[in-house]
């Protein structure tokens, strides 16, 4: 079989991402971030995000082809995120990718955004190994494994039984971990998105200064809940306006990291998996990485540019689906803002039967 060259497009939120995966390896990953555009509002403005995606999508694709050193003639498949996400934003990348696939007569692979995050494991290296050169194909995480996705929009634990076969073990009942980082950062006056800034400030503080109660203690399941922690920070700052901000940041970060790690460890014990893949923007958090290294799990973290939203992970997911013999999708797929990952687990054959 000819080596596959897959274009992957993601416009689910506020980043315009196009990546290229050749023979299973990421050869380009271009992301046009809209962070600066949304900073003034302290959050993502959906209409502005859609407009921005539309105005940059073609240049982002051109840059990705250049970076990959391929032309459209080399491309064998087109993949794009069809959900979940902001519907107007999703529509831009999805429709653009469909137009391109249609015009060139290429097979089209619709990808669930979270399946993309899971597949970023294919570009991951073992935590602790040097990021450079450590990602040969044999070192990639192949299912089954446990996957923790912690981003600005999602916090979930998945049982990844095989490519295309995912079971959700638990999820956040309220705020996502990244969202909690962002909200706490705002309370601390750190701007948007505040996760990275809060992480930096926390490094200089005492994580035991303010012992926040860990959420959902004693639960049997594997859910998360972070809005209470955010409220606790807010109450604390009201009562003690001169509290040391670095200490508050460190204590807050400690509570989130402990909650993520402890729940993940219980899920690992329940499933019997020894390998954990961590994806989503919060995977960049240093404290979380350190803490995970102390566990007996083999932890794989994609490089930062694959951990946050990007197009290469969508192409990786398409690659994994094709390798696993799952059906390609077709061009009739619609942008779907609310979409459980279990729906993407099914192949087209199965969904036709049900």
């Amino acid at each position: 079989m000819k080596e596959t060259v897959i274009l992957g497009v993601d416009t689910s939120c506020d980043d315009t991402g196009v990546g290229v995966v050749r023979g299973g390896r990421v050869v380009a990953n271009v992301v046009a971030s809209q962070t600066a555009l949304h900073t003034a509002y302290g959050g993502v403005m959906p209409e502005q995000a859609s407009r921005e995606h539309l105005s940059v999508i073609d240049t982002v694709l051109t840059r990705a082809l250049l970076e990959a050193d391929v032309t459209l003639d080399d491309v064998t498949h087109v993949a794009a995120t069809y959900g979940p996400g902001l519907v107007g934003a999703l529509l831009v990348g999805l429709t653009y990718a469909k137009g391109l696939a249609w015009a060139r007569g290429l097979p089209f692979v619709p990808v669930h955004h979270l399946e993309g995050h899971i597949a970023s494991a294919l570009g991951a290296s073992a935590l602790g190994a040097s990021a450079l050169g450590a990602s040969s194909l044999t070192e990639n995480a192949e299912p089954p494994f446990l996957c923790l996705i912690a981003s600005g929009g999602h916090t979930s634990l998945f049982d990844v039984r095989a490519w295309g076969d995912y079971g959700e073990l638990g999820r956040s009942r309220d705020d996502a971990a990244g969202e909690a980082f962002d909200k706490a950062a705002r309370l601390l006056g750190l701007g948007y998105p505040g996760g990275p800034a809060l992480g930096r400030l926390a490094a200089t503080g005492d994580p035991d200064a303010y012992p926040f109660t860990l959420p959902l203690r004693g639960q049997k399941g594997f859910d998360f809940s972070f809005s209470g922690l955010k409220t606790a920070v807010s109450v604390l700052l009201q009562r003690q306006p001169d509290a040391d901000k670095a200490d508050v940041a460190a204590s807050f970060e400690h509570a989130i990291v402990e909650s993520l790690v402890r729940t993940t460890l219980r899920a690992a014990a329940a499933t019997g998996y020894g390998t954990l893949v961590v994806a989503g923007g919060v995977a960049a958090n240093l404290r979380l990485r350190e803490r995970l290294q102390e566990t007996p799990l083999t932890v794989r973290v994609p490089p930062f540019e694959l951990a946050t939203d990007n197009g290469a992970m969508i192409a990786l997911a398409a690659h994994a689906r094709l390798q696993a013999g799952l059906d390609e999708g077709d061009l009739s797929v619609d942008a779907t803002p609310y979409l459980p990952l279990s729906d993407a687990s099914r192949t087209r054959d199965e969904s036709a039967r049900s």
């Binding site: 539309l54 999508i57 073609d58 429709t95 469909k98 137009g99 391109l100 249609w102 007569g105 009739s332």
Partner: protein, 181 residues
């Protein structure tokens, strides 16, 4: 030289192929479902003409005004098609495409309007000439009643003429700027 015209800014999904005359048309009222219908409609259009996308020499898309989501679907699809085949892409006002449906030799001048919601309309005065249709003056946001009393034929709620857009593609690429009004 075969050209493609498309417009998704109104409740219609309008597509056409043009080469010295109309080769094929697709125009259906789809409400808000342009995204779900567009590739199927493109297939039908090309099958009708017995052509493939590789026969194309250029694309024109209606850039609005109209539904934000609709016009974005049209522009996104057109960008994907044009870039996929390395074709020149042109953007033209969607009102121009409406004017092409409304006007002709027997009725060369009229007001063409589009529902702007909240009671108003976006409208422009257009003039047909054998060499093409042009807009006279600015696009205005106004009240139906006032515009209807101008003594000119008034058109609203008509389907766009995608073949006219396709014909414009012969003029080459321009900067495609969506009209978010």
């Amino acid at each position: 030289m075969v050209y493609l015209g498309l417009d998704c800014a109104s409740p219609y999904l309008a597509l056409a192929l043009y080469q010295n005359g109309v080769l094929a048309r697709f125009c259906e009222e789809v409400g808000r479902d342009h995204a779900g219908r567009i590739t199927g409609a493109l297939d039908a259009l090309f099958a009708q003409a017995g052509l493939t996308p590789h026969d194309l020499a250029g694309v024109t898309v209606g850039v609005g005004p109209g539904s934000y989501t609709g016009l974005r679907v049209g522009v996104a699809a057109a960008k994907g098609i044009a870039q996929g085949l390395d074709l020149p892409l042109r953007g033209e006002s969607s009102l121009l495409a409406l004017a092409a449906t409304a006007l002709g030799e027997g009725r060369p001048r009229g007001v063409v309007a589009l529902d702007a919601r909240r009671g108003g309309v976006y409208a422009g005065v257009f003039r047909w000439r054998p060499e093409g249709i042009t807009q006279e003056g600015e696009l205005v946001k106004g009240q139906r009643e006032t515009l209807q009393e101008q003594g000119l034929p008034y058109f609203e709620g008509i389907p766009p003429d995608a073949a006219y857009l396709a014909q414009c593609a012969a003029r080459g690429a321009n900067t495609v700027t969506p009209l978010y009004l």
